[in-house]
């Protein structure tokens, strides 16, 4: 089995994985919700007057969002190296992967949020409006109705993030995927490689199961 050194490597990689997912996850959640809600609000005639300016605002945000979503992650990673260096001072290691992961996963999640919100029945909105709901209350109703779908969408995003992290391994981002890549590519340590891969798989399954459970618990449709 693993010697002390290898065990150390594995634990460190596991820690890095959680670190990267944790930090990235929080930022993606925050930015994605903001952008997703903005996309929704600016395009729903029930909430905002669809004036020319409103339509332009929506188009600009949507297009920017889609541009970043369309760039393959590995390209984006290299593309923003100057920016990353400026921001975190290095282009190597776990920290260096975080900006690219955030920039790449946020547009994805923003679209998911937008779609979830759009699924909220306009009739429910109309009912809230007929009561005289303020913007705040309206957002509360939309959020409450979309929550199960938002949780599913966020689960999906987290899993996609884990996929992206494997690509980030090429810049030495660290984490389990990096370990698998480093020790697997020359056939030097298959045990470590398979252990890393199975841990990643387990992680994906755990996230999926927890996400599904929470979503189902919140859903009363």
């Amino acid at each position: 089995m693993l010697n002390i050194y290898e065990r150390q490597l594995f634990i460190e990689a596991l820690y890095e994985t959680f670190y990267i997912i944790g930090i990235t996850g929080v930022f993606v959640l925050l930015f994605g919700l903001i952008i997703g809600f903005t996309l929704y609000i600016t395009s729903n005639p029930k909430i905002t007057n669809q004036t020319k300016i409103m339509k332009i605002i929506h188009r600009v945000i949507a297009t920017t969002n889609d541009v970043f979503r369309s760039i393959p992650f590995i390209i984006l990673l290299i593309m923003i190296i100057p920016f990353t260096r400026l921001l975190v001072g290095t282009m190597l290691g776990p920290k260096a992967a975080i900006p690219a992961l955030i920039i790449s996963a946020t547009p994805f999640f923003a679209r998911v949020v937008h779609m979830s919100l759009f699924e909220v029945s306009n009739d429910t909105l109309e009912a809230a409006q007929s009561m005289g709901a303020s913007f705040k209350h309206l957002m509360y109703v939309i959020f409450k109705e979309a929550l199960p779908s938002l949780v599913s969408g966020y689960t999906l995003t987290l899993i996609t993030l884990i996929g992206f992290m494997s690509a980030a391994a090429v810049i030495g981002a660290g984490g389990l995927a990096f370990l698998a890549y480093e020790y697997g590519k020359f056939g030097s340590n298959y045990i470590l490689m398979y252990l890393s891969i199975f841990t990643i798989l387990a992680l994906v399954f755990i996230i999926q199961i927890i996400g599904d459970k929470i979503s189902r618990k919140l859903d009363h449709k």
Binding site: T124, A127, A128, S130, V141, K144, H220, K221
Partner: protein, 327 residues
């Protein structure tokens, strides 16, 4: 009082435009129960949404208790909506909130005093008979129960007006009838003004004191409910009424007459007098009654023969019986 003056509503798109409402003038008195009837596409739903400002008219004036709602800022319009509640065909409850929280949401939107909210929720739940189901989610309720929650939510802050958009159309007959009874009870207790939109004449006749009939964006008839049934003027109205009174269609091309008793003259032996005086023969083909609200209308289908038929009919008409040749 709700007043609508010269309302037009045009829906415009690039390809075509559609005029949903044409020159609508309507006054809805306080404490009245007004029915708005018509086939789908007649403009009923648009009309009711004008009243609470969910839809803006292309031109015309909407005045509620003396205030024109056009000039209102969104904030003031929202405040006005606290007093004009609405219930819907598909109930439109927030599906991820339970019964209690659905009503609580309405009350907090309408800035009901926080310390009284819990008490008020139980009060309205008691009124609609759903106290024991307050922790259920909408999907765990039947259609009738959902509409009860809708009603509880709508009346929770004691509004002055209640708009009902096809409120019973998605329910079976018995449940629809129960909902009508509930609305009647609420009206009796609170004197709330009700505007009841529906295509179901049989429901409207039980609930409403006055009926407006709409067709193709116009108001084509506006009468007290009983008068509407006794003397409908428009062919669309007649068609709608036929949903309720199934006329004996096989009576054709003979001396058949329809007599409608709608006034307090049922105690007099008018027909008997007419038979004796004008020497007519009468064959009763068919007879029935129709209950409208709390009143009753009698329908009598007769075959009349004899020389002085016209005089006999004139006599009956003088005595406030509606007589129509049936052909």
């Amino acid at each position: 009082m709700i007043e609508l003056y010269k309302i037009n509503k045009l829906y415009e798109s690039k390809k075509e435009s559609f005029q949903a409402l044409k020159n609508i003038n309507l006054k809805i008195k306080d404490q009245e129960i007004l029915g708005v009837v018509g086939y789908s596409g007649a403009g009923k739903s648009t009309l009711v949404r004008l009243i609470n400002g969910l839809i803006k008219p292309s031109c015309g004036q909407i005045i509620i208790d003396g205030t024109s709602i056009h000039a209102l800022k969104q904030e003031d319009l929202n405040r006005m909506r606290y007093d004009i509640s609405m219930i819907f065909q598909h109930f439109n409850l927030v599906s991820n909130l339970n019964v209690y929280d659905n009503i609580k949401l309405a009350l907090s939107i309408k800035k009901y005093p926080k310390e009284d909210i819990d008490h008020r929720i139980h009060e309205v739940l008691d009124l609609v008979g759903l106290v024991d189901k307050k922790h259920r989610y909408p999907k765990e309720l039947s259609g009738g129960e959902k509409q009860r929650v809708g009603i509880a939510r709508a009346i929770s802050n004691r509004p002055k007006y209640l708009l009902c958009d096809e409120a019973t159309s998605a329910l079976d007959q018995k449940t629809a009838y129960d909902i009508v009874q509930l609305l009647k009870t609420i009206h009796k207790q609170t004197k709330i003004t009700i505007v009841f939109i529906s295509h179901q004449m049989e429901i409207v006749k039980d609930l409403c004191e006055r009926v407006v009939v709409m067709d193709e964006g116009r108001i084509i008839e506006d009468q007290p409910t009983k008068n509407l049934f006794v003397s409908p003027k428009n062919s669309i109205t007649k068609k709608l009424i036929k949903q309720v009174i199934d006329e004996p269609v096989h009576l054709k091309n003979k001396n058949y007459y329809e007599l409608i008793y709608a006034h307090d003259n049922v105690d007099d032996s008018l027909l008997s007098y007419a038979i004796k005086t004008y020497q007519i023969d009468v064959n009763i083909v068919y007879a029935k009654t129709l209950t409208i609200n709390t009143e009753m209308i009698g329908y009598l289908y007769l075959e009349i023969t004899g020389e002085h038929i016209d005089q006999a009919i004139n006599y009956l008409r003088e005595k406030d019986i509606e007589v129509r040749k049936y052909a």
